[in-house]
Amino acid sequence: MSSRLEIEIAGLKLSNPTMLAAGILGLSAASLREAIKNGAGAVVTKSVGLKPRSGYANPAVVQVSCGLLNAMGLPNPGAQDFAEEIREFREDGFKARIIASVFGFSAEEFAEAASVLIEAGADAVELNVSCPHVEKTGSEIGQSPTMVREVVKRVKGVVDKPVIVKLTPNVADIVEVAETAVKAGADSVAAINTVRAMAIDIETARPILANKIGGLSGAAVRPIAVRCVYEIYEAVNVPIIGCGGISNWRDAVEFMLAGASAVQIGTAIACEGLGVFKSITRGIDSYLRKKGFGSVKDIVGLSHRR
């Protein structure tokens, strides 16, 4: 892949701007490595907390016409067990970029999980203050600037690697939360997590998800995510990672023009498979060549020019 695609996020050098989004695969070293082998510039793990969680009962996923609804309920083996997967990912000097997504039910838990996973070999942490379907964590924290400040400060106090904050779109003003996170020390923000949503079966007149309410991802949320990235870019000076309904190189370029330095891909893997990383990077590369840009950095935020 050409050097045009190289980009740096808060000191993390990536061979290309695509990442595996949190929550997708990411429970095992082998599946994370598989995403890298298929061309991802970095992988973000499943969100990991201090203790093991089984998540919600099925149905945890509903396919709707415009996207995908999920309420997994943050299943994860707990930081101690998951540290083993990160160490296995690192075996034989495997250098690829791995970002540990962490969540907690308090700032303290965020900090503890983050330090365990950084210790195990993660290059950075992404704070999940945006999962829309688990009480007392995720977006319940991410909707409160005060709590976001506390979590970011606490994590920054214990890890010496980049801290990314993944933001929820389920707020009146995402810019305010982004600014708060950056002031508290966040090295980067990722936008967006899923949009709170639900689906009801008309035959049985019942909500389909076991948890009733979940998060919407896929094509339906892309314009919302592009708007969020665009607004955040105007307000903060840290790199932004775009996420939400990206399924091809055009979508990825749109996010970068809005201000994203990298993009995360999740739902598209269901239809496109892991080959989506290579097809997106190839597409971005030929876009850059055709438009005469020497580096992918040149298009980040380009739509903001006056």
Binding site: K46, N58, V61, N70, R206, A270
Partner: protein, 265 residues
């Protein structure tokens, strides 16, 4: 979707048929996610494919909360069906196959056997269960194999029907005797499939097995069902001997629980 018929197979196993064009035209080995409203959603192999009737069926043992709830349902009751998902059994080009099924693993082998019986295949069908009463599809298989060159060998753990012991024993005996097969298909408890995999490796016979893992999304995203680099819901559920060699540290040894932690098979 409405259940069209419910059929008792054994004292603890029932088949549920439903009308769905996509499932009726599924390939042998594919599975569906069955939603029992307000209870759970579980992966189930399709045990009958009837494109002419636009009908398919699943065969379910009453073992947990979801399957117990399903067993209480009757024709006309509503279930949700997502799918069909996953890959399918590769149909052997050569014509002398061994099929080994245990317990409800026989479900996914039925559409395969029907397909193979339509070709001019020689079929050696080995089926195992705990007792005579637990032997699934005995009549259906016997009837199928009257149409082709075939034989059925049944085993029960208590000896109440056929040979006493595990289904892998007669399989091993045949292979030791020097009988040749072009393909071995297996579906059932993982220890059984693992044993058959080792035999296929030893005697250098192509092998396919249908794996079972905890599942959530069924579309290759959530990572719940991973084995090595593979996702059972998308890259499987059918795996070849060659693929199983790549995941031999996991296959037959451990699987991941819903929280991602490893548990013994």
């Amino acid at each position: 979707m409405k259940i069209s018929t419910v059929q008792d197979e054994t004292s603890s196993v029932k088949s549920f048929a439903f009308h769905d064009r996509f499932c009726a035209n599924a390939k042998p080995g594919q599975f569906v996610m069955i939603w029992i409203p307000s209870v759970d959603e579980v992966p189930m192999s399709l045990s009958a494919l009837q494109p002419d009737k636009s009908q398919a069926a699943i065969t379910v043992e009453s073992v947990g909360e979801a399957t117990k709830a399903l067993h209480k349902m009757k024709a006309g009751d509503t279930i949700g069906v997502r799918g069909p998902f996953g890959n399918s059994y590769a149909i052997a080009k050569a014509h002398n196959v061994m099929i080994v099924g245990g317990g409800t693993g026989l479900a996914s082998l039925m559409p395969l056997t029907e397909r193979l019986a339509r070709g001019k295949n020689k079929i050696t069908f080995l089926m195992g269960a705990k007792t005579r009463n637990d032997l699934l599809f005995l009549n259906r298989i016997n009837e199928l194999l009257t149409k082709v060159k075939g034989r059925v060998i049944a085993t029960t753990e208590d000896g109440s029907y056929g040979l006493e012991g595990l289904v892998t024993a007669p399989a091993e005996k045949m292979l030791e005797k020097g009988e040749k097969f072009d393909m071995i298909y297996a579906c059932g408890p993982e220890q059984m499939m693992h044993k058959m995999f080792l035999l296929a490796e030893k005697f250098n016979i192509p092998f396919q097995a249908s794996l079972e893992r905890f599942m959530r999304c069924a579309i290759g995203l959530c990572g719940t069902c991973v084995i090595g680099k593979y996702r059972v819901c998308q890259d499987g559920p059918i795996f070849s001997g060659q693929q199983l060699r790549e995941v031999k540290d996991e296959f037959g040894h451990f699987l991941r629980d819903f929280d991602g932690r490893k548990t013994t098979v």
